[in-house]
């Protein structure tokens, strides 16, 4: 949902959600490149299924996306009843997830040739993940 901001340029976006562990609220406010409020500040993003499996089609995007969630902190992820320890390396601060969701795969959705470039854009996202130190089999198909 962090990529919503690229479709509403120069507009404040507010996301209200709740932690799947404790049910308490999480608030994000952002504007183009800037995420100017994250409450609580300890909020992290997490993906409870191998990202690489979504890229290869081993799991559906529906299943993968529904397992990408925000939590009030890393401790809340690990306390969550559905937490899979294999997914530990996907726990990242919101700023890292925002970086991962800032490439052309997300920014260029309204470009008239988007679909012909979408796989190239996906490759660029993998490079972005590598720059964040996320280059293992959890992220990149082997």
């Amino acid at each position: 949902m962090l990529a919503v901001r690229w479709l509403f340029p120069r507009t404040e976006i507010r996301i209200d959600t709740c932690c799947l562990d404790c049910g308490q609220p999480i608030l994000i406010r952002m504007h183009d490149e800037e995420i100017f409020e994250v409450n609580p500040a300890t909020t992290v993003g997490h993906m409870n299924i191998l990202f690489a499996k979504a890229l290869t089609g081993e799991v559906t995007w529906g299943k993968a996306v529904s397992r990408m969630n925000l939590f009030r902190s890393e401790e809340h992820v690990k306390n969550w009843s559905h937490y899979d320890p294999v997914s530990a390396e996907s726990i990242m601060p919101l700023s890292n997830w925002a970086t991962a969701f800032s490439g052309p795969l997300f920014r260029n959705r309204l470009e008239p040739d988007y679909l012909t470039r979408v796989m190239d854009y996906a490759s660029e996202m993998l490079l972005s993940l590598k720059k964040l130190g996320k280059a293992g089999p959890f992220w990149i198909p082997e």
């Binding site: 996301i15 995007w61 996906a122």
Partner: protein, 89 residues
Amino acid sequence: MRETTLVQRAYTAVLEHFVKTGRAPHYTELAATLGLRPEEAREAQRKAAEASIACWFVKDTDYVESWAPFSNVPTHYLVTINGDPKWYG
């Protein structure tokens, strides 16, 4: 119209509909937008989802469930823009 162009137009039209209204169009609405017959729009919409990433339909239907980055069903990610809370991520 070349098929790749039509599929791209369908993809963009669904996304623009989400941006404007907070929901996906039904393929009959998409047909009106693109100047197509309903069945042509249904097929174009389905091919657009297949050609993209993280766009899919409610199982066994032609109803859009997700058109990334938007969800067409309520989720626990409520998106408010200019004070208007009508999108879901």
